[in-house]
């Protein structure tokens, strides 16, 4: 394999995040996520490839809430990958931690070994109330019951942007690919791009003094960078 051409990454500015959850809604409609009812959500069966974690600081009434959108960190040393017995999850040559739904037999080991808890299991075949099936994204497969799924960094959008660039006979440039969550963030807290391109916005942000990696101390080499004010 030649040198890695792209290394997709994301930067999230936590000082900008308002916790509005637009990213969550956008991800749901882009990636054909099942919509859970109240009962299964209470059971912890809801599927959100991106979620907004809330952390509270201080004592009531003097409380500050901190939001942190958490999605698959697309680790370069992903703990979920080696434990899968059937190669349903593996590292592709653009640094993505991809999930092959059709290979998955559902051991759920990857889910246990993900320190970020961003892997989701289809406990049943997915169902959507009418008319939701009409808005399914044709570029994204529907996952059957018994398989794992997780954030793909909107790989369908990456592929489409590459196709369009090839058709136009030009190289992919920064900003050509936007994931659904990035596109929908009203506070523009999220940026997506190629970490191999030193000029890209995401590379610049990842180099910023405010950049941190979630649980980076585990050596997972996550490719999502969180920017926050130093304390």
């Amino acid at each position: 394999m030649s040198e890695q051409k792209h290394s997709w990454g994301m930067a999230i500015d936590l000082d900008r995040c308002t916790g509005c959850q637009a990213c969550v809604a956008a991800c749901h409609s882009e990636n054909n996520l099942s919509v859970s009812d109240a009962e299964s959500a209470a059971k912890g069966r809801a599927v959100h490839w991106i979620r907004v974690d809330r952390y509270y600081e201080g004592e009531f009434p003097d409380v500050r809430v901190k939001y942190r959108p958490v999605l698959c960190q697309q680790c370069d040393e992903a703990p979920c990958e080696p434990v899968c017995p059937v190669y349903a999850t593996y590292h592709n040559d653009e640094g993505l931690n991809v999930q092959v739904y059709n290979r998955c037999v559902g051991t759920r080991y990857c889910g246990n070994n993900c320190p970020y808890s961003v892997r989701f299991f289809n406990w049943f075949d997915p169902v959507w109330a009418e008319p939701l099936p009409l808005q399914h994204n044709p570029d994204v497969s529907i996952r059957e019951g018994g398989v794992m799924e997780k954030c793909t960094f909107c790989i369908q959008r990456i592929n489409r942007a590459k196709d369009e660039a090839r058709t136009d006979g030009r190289a992919l440039k920064d900003g050509d690919v936007q994931t659904a969550c990035v596109q929908s963030c009203p506070a523009e807290a999220m940026v997506f791009g190629d970490l191999n391109d030193p000029e890209s916005r995401v590379s610049q942000m990842a180099k910023s003094g405010r950049a941190t990696q979630l649980l980076g101390e585990l050596g997972t080499k996550p490719k999502v960078f969180y920017l926050e004010r130093a304390k």
């Binding site: 912890g44 037999v105 246990n112």
Partner: protein, 436 residues
């Protein structure tokens, strides 16, 4: 008082007697156990049809009762093989009446334990994708995954322990074939492999049994190490521990011994083998059990002490939940039944008897099931990101399947003991100490 020696004709008569006929009680219990086992099968069918979501597992607790049961039954399987292999290799004569009962536990417990990785699969109909065979996907399984090590280790162990159970049965079935009629004759004849009892055959059998004892010992240790690595290879808090492999092996032998003592006591009572399974045997097994209890305590203490001293926040979350949090009743209950009770009942010579050994063993079986529960559930409930933590409680499907496997184990054992003498006839000779 026991007779000075039991004549061979009488030994054979006593040990063969349970094979003939069905008492009303036997049929009733077997029917009941089979019904419970069948209910478990129905529950599994329901789960396959509707989806694994009918179980109580949920993010982040992706593994629940099924994995607890898996580790538990694989642990029980160490009863036989390991104990009987060690005793065979060390030529411990007192082992002779207990080995077959132990080896049968191994085989059946493995069959049951080996089912759980299947039961817990999201898409069980594709389980064969875990086997390395040339396929249209042009893809081998991932041998870096501890689950693949499991598949390899458990299938090796099951094959090995079947052979290990079978070899010493050959002279017995050959004898049985001489006296049987009908389908029993055909079965025994087939299994005897034309055994005539020549010197050459005895030598070959003796060599094969010694060899298998050595092999199975290594395989048994490796199997439970691999089971431990299912957890220890993961970076989850309180799983990523270097001592898990030996800790699990010790726990497995511990629970296996307890299972053996309970089974032997039932066999002794129901088949009236009081003269063959004597207080001497139970005394020796009880001493072994006490030793394993102390070893288990040592490992448990070492494991928890290092976590507590290290004081790493994520590990302490799980530690706290176990020792003083919401899992503490299970934790301290486990310590009581796995250590305190056996230590009192078996450690004090005056109290040590068949009854107390059985009571302690039943407690240990519960305690060792709890131990696996305490290893799996708290860690998964409390992942590194606090916002993702969750609670697990089993559904009726998981409980049904768990209960059914105990019934299936008992039923298989009952059927086995109707087909073959549960105490090896040809190996049996009363031990000197019994001839008081």
């Amino acid at each position: 008082m026991l007779p000075p020696t039991i004549p061979f004709q009488q030994v054979r008569g006593d040990l063969w007697r349970p094979l003939a006929g069905f008492s009303k009680r036997y049929s009733l219990i077997l029917a009941l156990l089979s019904a419970v086992a069948l209910w478990g099968l129905i529950a599994w069918g329901y789960q396959i049809r509707v989806g694994i979501g009918v179980a109580g597992i949920r993010r982040p607790v992706f593994w629940g009762f099924y994995l607890v049961d898996f580790v538990f039954w694989i642990g029980i399987s160490h009863a036989g093989t390991l104990i009987s292999a060690i005793l065979r290799l060390t030529d411990a004569d007192w082992r002779k009446p207990v080995t077959r009962a132990a080896e049968a536990i191994t085989t059946f417990a493995l069959m049951i334990g080996g089912l759980f990785p299947l039961i817990h699969l999201g898409r069980v109909w594709l389980f064969y994708w875990l086997f390395p065979y040339p396929n249209s996907r042009l893809l081998w399984p991932n041998f870096r995954s501890p689950l693949m090590w499991d598949v390899t280790a458990i299938s090796t162990y099951l094959t090995g322990s079947l052979i290990f159970l079978y070899l010493p049965m050959i002279p017995d079935v050959a004898q049985l074939a001489e006296h049987a009629k009908g389908w029993r004759l055909r079965l025994y004849k087939l299994m005897a492999l034309g055994w005539t009892g020549s010197d050459r055959e005895w030598h070959a059998l003796e060599r094969a049994m010694k060899l298998m004892a050595g092999i199975i010992l290594a395989v048994a240790v490796s199997v439970h190490s691999v089971v431990a690595w299912d957890f220890a290879m993961a970076i989850a808090p309180m799983w990523h521990s270097t001592i898990f492999a030996p800790y699990f092996v010790v726990g497995a032998i511990f629970s296996g011994l307890a299972g053996l003592i309970v089974a032997l006591n039932i066999i002794r009572k129901t088949m009236h083998l009081e003269a063959y399974l004597t207080p001497h045997h139970f005394g020796n097994l009880a001493k072994l059990l006490l030793l394993m209890s102390l070893l288990w305590l040592y490992f448990t203490f070492a494991e928890h002490l290092t976590v507590w001293y290290g004081n790493e926040p994520k590990e302490m979350n799980v530690f706290g939940a176990r020792v003083r949090g919401r899992f503490s009743p299970e934790f301290w209950g486990m310590v009581i039944v796995n250590f305190v009770i056996p230590f009192i009942l078996l450690g004090i010579r005056k109290l040590r008897s068949i009854t107390t050994a059985t009571i302690a063993s039943v407690g240990i079986l519960i305690g060792m099931w709890l131990e696996r529960y305490l290893i799996i559930i708290p860690t998964l409930s409390l992942p590194r990101l606090a916002a993702a933590s969750g609670r697990y409680s089993p559904s009726w499907v998981e409980i049904s399947i768990t209960v059914a496997t105990f019934a299936a184990m008992a039923a298989l054992y009952m059927v086995f003991s109707k087909l073959f003498p549960i105490v090896s006839v040809w190996e049996f000779e009363p031990h000197e100490e019994e001839q008081e």
